[in-house]
Symmetry: C2
């Protein structure tokens, strides 16, 4: 017990990376194992992921998609069918070479993503324009052989959904690519209270095998960016490599146009780094496994526990409510549930019961309010909404405070040195400039935002004419 | 289109195995891929699995369990910690030997089951009796390197949940083992309408590393048995191998007592082989992705489609309703949705609308009834309940008709030759007899049923005194 009293976490300012590690382990989101680079997602972390997953799955189905399940393994020859794709993924896959005691005649890859499996299947089931569109999604684990890993942000194995669709026309595929990016943005902004910038990846940063990649980018507390979800227009590159053709209304054979899009457990890391503080996690109410934790005070006194349990039952109609009636001290409980980022703590003791009131303490601001019992349900609902909204607004203000405009490379460097954050700057479109900026500043192009601003008219790097504004940042 | 009109399936009597393959592919539950022994679970099959999963997940949470997620890979040394366990699984695992372009210093197994990962974690997080019980579950994919595979029944990779729990005492662990077997039986009997026999596996058939294994066994249409779910009391074997100890109330170090239990996509195969017929799938209403399919008749006539869509909306309050308003012929639609096992077809045409009625056709019996529109919701709910109940009863009668008692090995053989099914027979408890029965009849011991009947007093094989009745069968 004694050890549990001092769950100290490093302060964010002292060492942000250590703060992050402390939070994910001490708030019991994850644990390590002897499997290098992988994590155990503990009940609290998994329940959080389940909430996110359910919100996203609902939206994926609402937009007409169907869930399927593809094999975990991909034969080497299948992965090699699309040239750019294999080049992009070969260096970072895990290889199965033996089954039981036998060596395999063909090596198998543990899926890093499933484009090729979907393509093989689509070739089998798509024949006519009547078979289109095909709107499939799968929830799965994938593996990428990363050298350096961090819980949620970059792990050898992670959980995600990957959507894979086929369409008759380029326009329809493009529309789908945008639609699913907007679904991701919706989940980030309205469930996780993470403001995102929507935009297009540069050719350098796009997905291996894609025609174009759209992305949502968010800014962490430390000013580094995180790619939070991507949606790819694959064009007909995979269709040609796999021979996925349909007969159109005029009886002509056409290649399908495809998309793919993915959203991963990484977003949990984003949520932590956007909202967390020196006392630990801060979880937005809509994503929180427990929205309100009831902590009875002086619970040994007659009637307190009964009262608290009655409250729990009553409030369960409007929120996800927990109660800690263990014999641990209230001080320990306060710390623990702050660390776990539970949006609201409800304190109730003998005096409160006498006065017909309870105390609601906000995790985000620390503010405490007294609420009369007969107004509790309404006030609690309002409070949860208010917390959700103000977390989003706070994150947005933080991002805006850390977004600057640079007109030339010198200014770019100075700004980035002064404060890690987003840099808005014009770009000529030349890969050489993009590479040079990365080399000299370590910042990468995050996206070409859909909402363009003409912050200048010359490329921040070479000074040539430029009409695209790019968002740059150091990134996770 | 023409090809789709003749989705013929082999008759069950002609070739049951081919019938099964025809059904799973033509009802679009699965497709094959170039990944040997794995299957693609198509939207209709996955939606069915999602229904089963949701029902089971609800019950797992209701009984106090929490979901977690463990790594896909297991280092070889970790798998080797429990001697019986590695012996049981080593011959059937997939080995990862390379990551990217590098050979690994230690080989990784793709999890065939996750006991050792849970044990390693439990050792980290369990210290005191206050930490017990730990009731964890995970939904995951697992891989077993099977030589001969069949969709759902035996595949290289399958989906399942695996529960892993730790308890202070042997009694509590035993209680948990039984409790979760009953949860499985509940899902089988009340959702999938599959009657099961609950019992204990013989020492020969128990899980590698377990103290005892409980099982639910069901009987397929062809008289072969299928192990439909298992629940293991692991005792303290794993706890000793991994050093999972807690301090009890008296300050003494004790080993935990553990359980594990699993339920897989295999159950979809059971559902198919218990209820299916020569026209295809028959899905019990509670598991059906679509419970009622509306097929408009003469839909080109004014008002028919509007009426049909209104019905769909209205009925969605009481059932999962689909509608096929495509330009395919009603005859094609009738066949298609019979093949797909949709419990009820609702036909509505101009004449019906005039008379204020619709036709409901039962998939299980083929019976058609006319129902007045104003009674439709109530009648439909009743009908779905009736179908659910009668599928269960029919399956139970079928099983009882194929269950016989054998008093000696000769009778055992004659009975089994006459009719494949369950044989109830007394057993002395000797492994030699169990082996001999298998050798001479190909039947295996399915379980020692909890509900014992004294069908004799001598072992069916050796004739020595015997007081345990065993259920035997040829099995999948």
């Amino acid at each position: 017990m004694a050890k549990e009293f001092v769950k100290e976490i490093t302060s964010m300012e002292d060492d942000f990376a250590q703060w992050y590690t402390d939070v994910v382990t001490k708030a019991e989101l994850i644990d390590y194992s002897s499997v290098r680079g992988s994590m155990i997602i503990r009940p609290y972390g998994y329940s959080l992921w389940e909430n996110i997953k359910n919100e996203l799955d609902f939206r994926i189905k609402e937009t007409g998609h169907e869930n399927v399940y593809m094999p975990l393994f991909i034969p080497e020859s299948l992965l090699q069918k699309e040239k750019d794709h294999i080049e992009g993924f070969a260096p970072e896959v895990a290889w199965v070479t033996h089954g039981g005691s036998e060596e395999l005649t063909e090596r198998l890859v543990v899926r890093p993503t499933s484009e090729v499996l979907f393509c093989e299947h689509y070739k089998n089931i798509i024949h006519s324009y009547r078979d289109l569109p095909k709107l499939y999604n799968q929830w799965a684990n994938v593996v990428r052989w990363e050298k350096t890993t961090r819980p949620f942000l970059r792990t050898l194995e992670f959980l995600w959904q990957e959507g894979h669709t086929c369409h008759a026309t380029d326009e329809e595929a493009l529309e789908e690519t945008v639609k699913m990016l907007k679904v991701y943005a919706d989940v980030c902004e309205n469930i996780l209270a993470i403001p995102v910038v929507q935009g297009q990846k540069t050719a350098k940063e796009k997905f291996a095998g894609a025609k174009l990649t759209y992305t949502i980018e968010s800014l962490m507390h430390d000013g580094k960016a995180l790619q939070t979800g991507t949606s790819h227009h694959l064009g007909d590159g995979f269709a040609k490599a796999f021979g996925i053709q349909y007969t159109d209304k005029d009886g002509q054979l056409q290649y399908v146009q495809q998309t793919s899009w993915g959203f991963t457990t990484r977003v949990v890391g984003a949520m932590i780094m956007v909202h967390g503080d020196d006392r630990g996690l801060v979880i937005p109410p809509k994503a929180a496994p427990i929205q309100v934790m009831i902590v009875p005070v002086a619970q040994h006194k007659a009637g307190v526990l009964d009262f608290a349990y009655d409250l729990k039952e009553k409030l369960s109609a409007v929120a996800r409510v927990g109660i800690d009636a263990s014999d641990k001290k209230p001080g320990w409980k306060f710390n623990e549930y702050e660390m776990k980022g539970i949006p609201v703590r409800l304190e109730v003791g003998p005096k409160d019961i006498e006065k017909g009131q309870v105390v609601l303490a906000r995790r985000d601001t620390g503010e405490k309010i007294f609420v009369a019992i007969n107004e509790l349900e309404a006030k609690l609902s309002d409070l949860l909404e208010d917390i959700q909204r103000s977390l989003y607004e706070k994150a947005k203000r933080h991002r805006e405070g850390k977004t600057n405009v640079a007109l030339d490379l010198e200014e770019f460097k100075v700004l980035l040195e002064k404060e890690t954050g987003f840099i808005k700057a014009m770009w000529c479109g030349d890969r050489t400039c993009e590479d040079k900026i990365k080399e000299e500043t370590t910042a990468t192009s995050r996206c070409i935002p859909f909402e363009q601003e003409k912050v200048g008219d010359k490329c921040v790097c070479c000074g040539k004419e430029a009409d695209e504004m790019v968002l740059w940042a150091k990134a996770y």
